[in-house]
């Protein structure tokens, strides 16, 4: 048995290492969940949700090279699905006081059971994927930048519907009192799933087709890549995880309203993937997580400051001015972002280690030679 086990280990070393890392992450989360305060945990969970959203956004923008402005729309779809399914029935009657919620949603709730929460997250993802499919059909038949326009239009349509379909969404008032179900395990669990799925797609033959489409659409088509299919696959997967991210965000902050998913959400994600490097999943994960922490820290920038005798009044909204200027400067001077298209992988770490070890052996050997 031992022999077989080690043979399998050698063959699937990367998978084993990944599983071990996931196990370590689980232990770290258990520790965090008991030791850290609510505020810190909240930031960590938001960071994980940002990872889900950013990694999936990078699949369509960075890896496939198709400019989408859609994630806010897909996240809104997922968010409303989860909110409608998880809101307890008495709370539903309380929230829809102008017009009643439509049947059958008004008569049941998935309540707070974890497996139903998982199911509603899946439904949220499917809703996002379906939305992406709908927008993809008209956009991908055309060459050029129509996706940007169509996705923006789609986001606005969702916004208008959320504001006006009061019997379904409660309009601008939105919903509150959604049970806070998105624990660290759910958030980080989905972050791991999204990262693994997207990086496995990126390294598969489908992923190579997507990268070929990004680099040169005409050449890719001439080589036999089904361009429409490659774009559509990337976009639907991206829509799925955006829906999940929206579905995680809502039970994290326990409220939902149309203004939660405006274009600013997409803009933040765009900053994240550009800064991390378009096409680098590693970059998206690290920047997304840092972004969630940094935007808490950067709140200090907007509050009034006293540096010795100098008083600087706080300017609300300065953060977004800095971010948008940063985006333009990045595009002009540092287009590759922090990580370029680099990916952190086990093979890379191993090659680094063997190189270091090789260096060591070589040194020892040459030293031995010269001394003798």
């Amino acid at each position: 048995m031992g022999k077989h086990f080690f043979a399998a280990l050698r063959r699937h070393l990367n998978t084993f290492l990944t599983l071990m890392l996931v196990g370590l992450l689980f232990l770290a989360l258990r520790w965090a969940n008991t030791r850290l305060d609510d505020f810190t945990l909240r930031i960590l969970r938001t960071g994980a949700v940002y990872i889900v959203a950013a990694v999936s956004y990078n699949l369509i923008n960075g890896i496939t090279g198709q400019f989408s402005l859609g994630p806010n729309g897909f996240m809104a779809l997922g968010g409303y699905v989860v909110a409608l399914l998880m809101l307890p029935v008495p709370q539903k009657q309380f929230v829809w006081f102008l017009e009643p919620l439509i049947w059958p949603l008004n008569s049941f709730s998935f309540a707070s059971t974890w497996y139903f929460f998982g199911l509603s997250l899946l439904l949220a993802g499917l809703m996002g994927a379906f939305g992406a499919f709908l927008v993809g059909i008209p956009s991908f038949r055309l060459r050029g930048d129509y996706l940007a326009i169509a996705t923006f239009g789609f986001g606005e349509i969702i916004f208008v519907l959320a504001n006006n379909l009061i019997p379904l969404t409660n309009g601008p008032l939105g919903m509150k009192g959604i049970p806070e179900l998105a624990s660290v395990y759910w958030c980080f669990g989905w972050a791991v799933i999204a990262t693994l799925v997207v990086s496995n797609i990126a390294n598969s033959s489908y992923g190579r087709a997507m990268k070929a489409v990004r680099d040169d659409e005409v050449a890719a088509e001439a080589m036999g890549v089904n361009v429409f299919q490659a774009k559509m696959l990337a976009f639907v997967v991206s829509g799925f995880f955006a829906g999940v991210a929206g579905g995680l965000l809502v039970p994290l902050i326990t409220t939902i309203s149309p203004t939660l998913f405006t274009f600013t959400m997409t803009f933040n994600l765009l900053i994240i993937i550009v800064l991390g490097g378009l096409g680098s999943i590693t970059g998206s994960v690290i920047t997304a997580f840092s972004f969630a922490i940094a935007s808490e820290v950067l709140r200090a920038v907007e509050s009034p400051m006293n540096i010795g005798p100098i008083h600087i009044p706080g300017i609300a909204g300065m953060r977004m001015v800095v971010f948008s200027a940063l985006l333009v400067l990045l595009m002009i001077f540092y287009r590759r972002g922090i990580f370029g298209q680099f990916e952190l992988s086990w093979d890379w770490i191993r090659s680094l280690l063997t190189k270091a070890a090789g260096e060591e052996v070589r040194k020892k050997w040459t030293r031995g030679k010269t001394s003798s």
Partner: protein, 297 residues
């Protein structure tokens, strides 16, 4: 619907449509030449309205002079944006240029929010525009009459520039084939700069007239008119100036008439336009007048 409300809504739709047409021309010119969706165009529209506002309210200049100065200043802003932000990414992958455009757009909006504040400002309109005119049974505001007339005047000047001057010839040439035009000894960068200037000037004129029509301005006022104008450019056939005009009038009329005929839909008026955009992309992506763009390999 009675005849007089119909006439009122019709003039309302035509004046709104002519504003969309003015903005749409700016989108379509830049797209025709650079294949770039200039997301910042809608914010240049806002900048134009604010220039006029400050020239009138703070510098106390006469209305017409402020409007002309505001248009000129906005044209300079448009050229500066092209020089500073778009020219460095001109040879980069197309997605970089689009991201830059989104960044510039967000920068202008948020800079506006920080500097002039989010609170809407009352825009002072001239007597001529505020006055109500009676035509037959219908009472029509001066804006609804003057805005289409001024817009059409501006478009005639534009068409003259494009089809009867050397600059216009250069612009059409750059739109057809940028590399060959460069080989013919045309300074392509200057031509593109002028294109941005003209587009921005038209957007500023649109912004000022918009402020006369809806006399309250705020830093985010450009977003919806901008996107609807872009829809108009797509519906008319992007890259085609006549198409942009037809699209603009069409979108303006549809928006006003849909709400006038079905008042219960008034909450959905923005959604209707974006839905139309998706339908057009599905059914006739080249627009009403557009020709199929050949991909250059």
């Amino acid at each position: 619907m009675s005849l007089e409300t119909f006439i009122q809504q019709l003039t309302n739709g035509v004046s709104l449509g002519s504003l969309y047409a003015l903005i749409a021309i700016g989108y379509t010119m830049v797209y025709g030449i650079l294949r770039l969706i200039n997301f910042a165009h809608s914010d240049i529209f806002m900048v134009g309205a604010y220039f006029a506002f400050y020239l009138i309210a703070v510098f106390r200049l006469p209305w017409l002079l402020s409007a002309i100065l505001a248009v000129a200043l906005t044209a300079c802003v448009g050229m500066t944006i092209d020089r500073v932000a778009y020219r460095p990414v001109r040879n980069a992958p197309r997605i970089s240029a689009l991201i830059t455009a989104v960044g510039v757009s967000f920068f202008l909006e948020n800079l506006g929010l920080v500097t002039v504040g989010a609170r809407p400002k009352p825009f002072q309109r001239p007597e001529l525009m505020a006055k109500v005119v009676r035509i037959g049974p219908a009472a029509i505001s001066g804006v609804s009459i003057w805005v289409p007339i001024l817009s059409i005047g501006l478009v005639i000047i534009l068409l003259y520039v494009i089809y009867r001057t050397k600059l216009g010839m250069a612009m059409r040439s750059v739109a057809t084939d940028i590399d060959t035009t460069r080989l013919m000894g045309v300074n392509v960068d200057t031509v593109i700069s002028y294109t941005f200037a003209i587009g921005s000037a038209l957007a500023a004129a649109g912004g000022i007239m918009w402020a006369c029509k809806y006399p309250q301005i705020n830093p985010l006022m450009g977003i919806y008119p901008g996107w609807k104008a872009f829809t108009a450019a797509v519906v008319g056939g992007i890259g085609n100036i006549t198409g942009a005009m037809i699209g603009g009038f069409l979108i303006g009329l549809i928006e006003i008439m849909a709400v006038a005929m079905f008042p219960s839909l008034s909450g959905y008026r923005d959604g209707i336009i974006f839905g139309l955009l998706l339908v057009f992309l599905l059914v006739r992506p080249t627009g009403i007048l557009g020709e199929t763009l050949k991909e250059k390999v």
